[in-house]
Symmetry: C2
Subunit: 421 residues, 2 copies
């Protein structure tokens, strides 16, 4: 008997009809002879609605209270889904994060799972129950509810799969799996059968919204085999797993574009040691996630220092940096929100040279200017103008032959794949 | 420094504007130098909306899951109210029933409070916090949430007041207090300054919706001084307390009408011992609350047996009794939903004779037929036709001089109170 952890997101359980459909899917998995633990998000827009309500009574709501408030969304949906399972004749029981034994640290709004004691889940699985766990939450040492941050239900599912040594952790979504690029931008994008943890991790942190990086990291660390698949149709999705030789050979596995970044530039900074350190120390202290950093060549001891931050953090960045401008004798501070970060990701890069060169050439051919560059072993990211992002993604997808024709296993020699415009 | 427990119902916290208003009221109580524990219901129609949703996925939802679901309503509103208090600059913290130390028995949907361990509340009160507790819920021995039944937040408030030895338990509502009769039916009805526990208890169980009988019983047993008052205006309400000589002398303190009753009649029942016992044993086993019972004089060994049940329980009563009809050789089973129970209540009855006579006379003068009668030491109830209920209440209110003029203390001799039409 296999043990499956299935996670359903908010749009998969948006209303009663969705709940009944999801319940049927879960019940079928159980009837096929598997044990099932389900992790469920809040229904539809519940979390957003609760945030709006909170801000109506307090523009800066207390984090502990926000956690208590938001966690109710997942508690409610786990109970409703359990009722829908009962209606099908299934034995099922709902559990809050606390009841499921999920212990988190004390950081409200972005708590980290510290330990899972799955005793109560095990007990009910052994008795033939489907266990439906409220995602996104756990109990902290102060015995308060704390939430795991946006998309935290993915992390709940992976952590439970690790703790229960589940055979597979399925993330059911309103997409069919992980694609080579966003299909709404690139019509030729195709669903991947498999992807390596590292690739998924890079894509997730580069703006691909299909999985939370934290969940992927957790899966990688604990060797949990993840599957991203459709909650609407029963068909195989994308396996996220350890890279091995059986995995399809692709130089570039995916392309992501992130338009939720802004570029900050400190103008006329005296090029003396310690200035950059002060800037980034203060940003780190304010919990602002700096992604890319570029410092221009110094001219007459003066330089410009640019870095990207999440667009949501622009106001906060301003508050942190503006007092510094005078202190470090800079000429000013500038923000540019009209940028996009486009990234290509693939473990194949490790063994193929010339990938960066090809990327830059393709962009140049398309007259797209590169403003910043950053690379890792399996990723190249560039910052370009936001309106050019979709065109850049399409051109790169095409140039690296990532479309439908590449579906053929590379072993069988085939004619050169047909280019798509 | 006095300790107040304040309970706000769902209509008092229906939206963000209500939340802010209630927060101001609580903050004012705190600023006046009092410690405050707040008990709050779910916002507006939240509980009803959750029940509708549950029934959409399962017409007969599991009771444990219903409790998990409904309890989220109070959890959310306690967090929102706490945020609204923060916005005013108050120190405040929300607690679920569990966090507030409320332990209940295992009966889902109508759990009873078994024990309160107010350690965490005390700790925060001592540090100057306003503590906002989610009403209507507690943790049962299985570590599941269980709810106290409709209106259970009143009980939460009284139980917390008892456990904390609070100076007063205030139930803030959208009415000004307890009235001599429903002011929508009787324009001359007046707000009572005080009422004895026993009177409030009888009125609550006779259809007056101002307080839950269970909450009043709890207050009586633990000597908690209750006050029912307006959540909209700051002015004294009605004190519910132990009867003593300082309390205003009134023969009848209040009149209540309950239209949510139905009369069931078992026709042609053989008048043999044990028949009634079987009927009422089965009803009790099905948890159906039988209120009044009348058995006609037997003629030729055959009698009719009538009893009243809550209108909501008619279908269930049918299911329980119909199989019995044949078994006990009765002629049939009849239901009459067009009845009302009108009750007059007052501790003054104990020392005044002729009250029942006067009631029957007033009804007769108004050509209102009495179908059933039941009495206690401080209450007389009659069942009449439903459409005559309002007229009956007005006539009785008038005949017993319960209107505004009776506000004068009876010690000072005054001209006879002016009658109102």
């Amino acid at each position: 008997m296999a043990l499956y952890v299935q996670k359903y997101g908010g749009s998969s359980v948006a209303d009663a009809a969705c709940m009944r459909r999801v319940a049927q899917r879960i019940y079928d998995t159980r009837q096929a002879g598997n044990q099932v633990v389900v992790v469920v998000s809040a229904m539809g827009d519940t979390t957003d609605d609760l945030i709006v309500l909170a801000k109506q009574v307090n523009p800066e709501p207390n984090e502990r209270e926000m956690d208590s408030l938001m966690a109710t969304g997942e508690m409610a949906s786990s109970a409703i889904l359990t009722m829908a399972l009962h209606a099908l004749g299934a034995r099922a029981i709902s559990m809050t994060g606390h009841q499921a034994g999920i212990k988190v640290d004390g950081t409200h709004l972005k708590a980290k799972i510290q330990e899972i004691n799955p005793k109560r889940i095990r007990h009910h699985l052994d008795q033939g129950f489907i266990v439906v766990v409220a995602g996104f939450q756990g109990m902290n040492p102060a015995e308060d509810v704390a939430t795991l941050g946006r998309g935290g239900s993915d992390t709940t599912a992976v952590a439970l799969a690790a703790a229960l040594k589940a055979d597979r952790c399925q993330i059911l979504k309103d997409v069919d799996g992980v694609f080579t690029a966003n299909p709404r931008v690139v019509p030729a994008a195709r669903k991947l059968d498999e992807i390596a943890y590292e690739e998924m991790l890079e894509l997730a942190s580069c703006g691909a919204e299909v999985l939370q990086s934290r969940a992927v990291e957790f899966a990688k660390n604990y060797g949990v085999v993840l599957e991203v698949l459709s909650s609407f149709e029963v068909k195989p999705g994308t396996l996220v797993r350890e890279e091995d030789e059986a995995m399809e050979q692709m130089i570039i596995r995916g392309i992501a574009a992130d338009k939720n970044q802004a570029k900050a530039t400190l103008l006329g900074v005296p090029d003396t040691p310690g200035v950059a350190a002060r800037v980034f120390k203060n940003l780190a202290a304010a919990n602002i996630n700096v992604d890319m950093i570029v410092q221009n060549v110094s001219a007459a001891g003066i330089t410009d220092l640019s870095f990207t931050v999440p667009a949501d953090d622009v106001a906060k960045t301003k508050r942190v940096i503006e007092p510094l401008v005078k202190e470090i004798k800079a000429a000013g501070l500038d923000f540019d929100g009209a940028i996009a970060k486009v990234s290509i990701v693939g473990v194949g890069m490790k063994s193929h040279s010339g990938v960066a060169y090809k990327m830059f050439e393709v962009l140049a051919e398309n007259r797209i200017n590169i403003e910043m560059i950053s690379t890792s072993e399996i990723k190249i990211s560039v910052v370009i103008r936001a309106p050019e992002a979709d065109r850049a993604v399409r051109a790169l997808h095409d140039a690296f032959d990532m479309g439908a024709a590449a579906r053929q296993p590379p072993a069988r020699k085939k004619p050169a794949p047909q280019k798509k415009k």
